[in-house]
Amino acid sequence: MEKPAVSIYLAKLPFVFFHWWFLEAPLTLLKILRFIFAAFAHLFSFKELFTTFFQPWKNEYREGLVRTAIVVGVVFKTILIFFDLFLFGVLLALELVIFFGWFALPAIVLISLYGAIFA
């Protein structure tokens, strides 16, 4: 019974690596980025900002305070919606950079090498 030689593994490594880097990993990366987006939406309660938009702040029920609470709620939630939209914009941009950056990374190596030789 023989143990596997590391050299055999290393010989196959370039093929396995390219398959992983350009096919398997981007798919996983997409899942991760989608999860981060969904987690942000959940943590910043993006959906609830709209579904509870006209509900009184802190579910206020006392006579005379309900209208005030609704106004307070609308104001805060409007601010939060803009804040959320801004955050999602930034997040989306970052995710795009990361996703395309992933593909670009090997190219950057080649560009840098080109620069090292010909610059």
Binding site: Y9, A25, H42, F44, N59, Y61, F76, L105, A116
Partner: protein
Amino acid sequence: MEQFLPNSSKIFGAAAFANLYSSVLFKTIRALSATVLLTLLLILGTSGATKPLYLAISIVIVFSIFEIYYHAKVIKEKPTLLKEVANPADSFSFETAQLLLKIPSYRFFGEVFWSLLASKEVLFVLSRCNISQKDLNRLVADQQTKALQINFSEIASLTKSWAEKEGRNFIDTFDILLALISKSPSLQKLLFEKEIKDADLLNIVFWARAVFVKDSRPFWEKPPETFGQGISEFWTGGWTLRTEQYTFDITKQMQKGKLSAYLVGRNKEIEQVEEILARSEKRNVILIGPPGIGKTTIVYGLAEKSIQGLLPPALKYKRFLELDVTALTAGAAAGELEERIQNLLTEITHASNVVLFAPEIENLAGSRGTGVNVTGHFLNALGSGRLQVIATTTREAYRRYIETQGTFAAAFEVIDLAEPPEGEAIRILEEAAGRIEAKSRIVVTYKAIQKTIELSERYLVDRVLPGKAIDLLDEAAAATSIKNKTLLESGDIEELISQKTKIPIKEATGKEAQKLLGLEKILHQRIVDQNEAIVAVSNALRRARTIERETKRPIGSFLFLGPTGVGKTETAKALAAFYFGNEESITRVDMSEFQDASSLNRLIGAPPGTGEWEEGGDFTEKVRQNPYSLILLDEIEKAHPEVFNILLQILDDGRLTDAKGRFANFRNAIIILTSNIGGQFIDKMQRVGFSVSGKAGDYDDAKNKVMTALKDHFRPEFLNRLDDIVIFDILGHEAIQKIVGIQIKQVEERLKVKGIGIQIAPEVYGYLSKEGYNPQYGARPLKRLIQSKILNPIASLIIGKGIGEGGTVSLTMKNSDIHFEVRKGRNGKNGHAKPIKSDFVSEPVEARRGV
């Protein structure tokens, strides 16, 4: 058999590379390279040298890409599913493959096994099997074990079958350990010595998997809700400022990490609670069960799941508030309590994110603890579906305080909690063991857990699993750590239970085994003759100490028949002293006090509605307080016939329910009933000269007559339930002489404490055995005779003659009476004394009174 071929396996290839890449040498090279590259990048970036900078950047990126590849791909390599592979090596987990690649050779058992010891999972299993480093060293030293040749393909095949048996799709380190054990006689022998059976081993591996194998899903495959609640919870949940004064915020404490739920199993009950709380109306549930069954744990478990977002939307991210009845009622003036409750209910209703936990709800329903009944205030809110309430109570309290208030009771859905089955109780204790180990800095063996369940079930009868077992394990762990031991074994649990109950539990070995074997001799040191009785009780004790009792019946139940003063009580005392360690461990009840039907109330308690209901039963209370004792029921024939129905229940089920519905447990008791039925036949035999030394035929005849009288008086089902019916013989003169010897020895012991010796002439023994014997009262008058004729005069001599330490009193017979001669003591003087006037008559006081 499939060939195990690691050299052609993808996972073993990756593991081999990972072993090399994570070796100390490579780790050092990687760390140095990273430092040099970053420094170079910094220097070149500031120096303005473009070409070297580009070169450095490309090297840094290549280096980073490789590190990403190593961490995200190489070490995350997944095994191929078992059913899809031809080579079993492809189905080994990555960690197991890494471990196996470190083995120098697969040919010898020793080399494979020692390599496995590098795994903390394997060490966990071995330590829980009570296999110590010393045991392992012994195994290492064994040449035969070391040189045992194995076929690893066969081992791999076995590992595959272990994995398939458990429904797993890959092979891990535990499977290899199990396969190796099945191939090693030395390991099997070691496990046999540790009393670990195959099923125990599998349970230990199951335990280890629960500890080490966590949710392996990457974070992006879990729902986003599991990462906590969104910010909307801040504004959608209403204010609960007043409520917070009277409640304990379970959710907040859990979020702070100050509180945890250790919920194991109970899936069915949790599902039921979830369903009820998620309804649109009547969203209230009441958990019923005795203390320690896990009612609060279920609520805390739900709170934890709610925080983690693992519950249905109606329960997700809810605040679990525990009602503090003391805070709610404290200092409340008239009307104030109602106001507080009203505020609390209004706030909770409008908060819309609160689940109210009301422990011991009977405290709000008029129980004696608080005397407060505020259920009426809750009715509207409970029925409307605006509240979600989880209440807890015991069955008895539910029956008394909740069920009687129909509308309030109807607002709750009842869930009865039963004790978990043994398997589940073991799982719960394994979970609890982790906390206990961390707290006490010890290791809890599997056998200790098993023993905790077994003994708590048998001896801690007034509580329920798993609570009583957890408390017992915790106490044993604390005691073990105090002794500076690091391993909690089953023996420690036995020792603790023995301390608590005074019952010997450990298997009888050495001197104790010898004592048990010669128990008759030991009992005969106190009891003269009565061989039949001594053999019967000795056999019962030997059975109790060796063979596991399958039924829930008492340890032993005997009916002792015979006249007064023949040693029935003395036998009971000797038995109590031997088994329970103290002859005072006797619960004695005079059954002649239970002659009429109304006296049953004193036995098991008066029925509800009567004034004495609260007091409970005299008899049941005594047994509840001291369940580990000898129960002596005197003059059983005088008891009311109804008492025998109660006795039937005790002898059959080993327990008795009192009027309050509480159990008195007799499973750990020895029951002795005494009766004088058939006494006339024994007396008659005595008059014609029957005694121990009489003919065997006479004895059998007497016994038959006594048994007939017994059957006339008691129902057969009662007599059949007794372990033995023992007839105590009338004491003959020889027996009386022996008893005189025993009693005189006790006098000697008492005087010895004072440093005074006593010499008694043989004719004094003769005098005492003649005067101390009464056919009607057996040896009972002897004690009084010795007191009157010996102890009283000696006491006078000690005072009058000043006998001190080193003094001696000689007793001889003169003029048909005892004569005392005093010899020199330290402070006293020599002399002799006339016998003082004695008030002794050979009949006891009762006889003189005509009783």
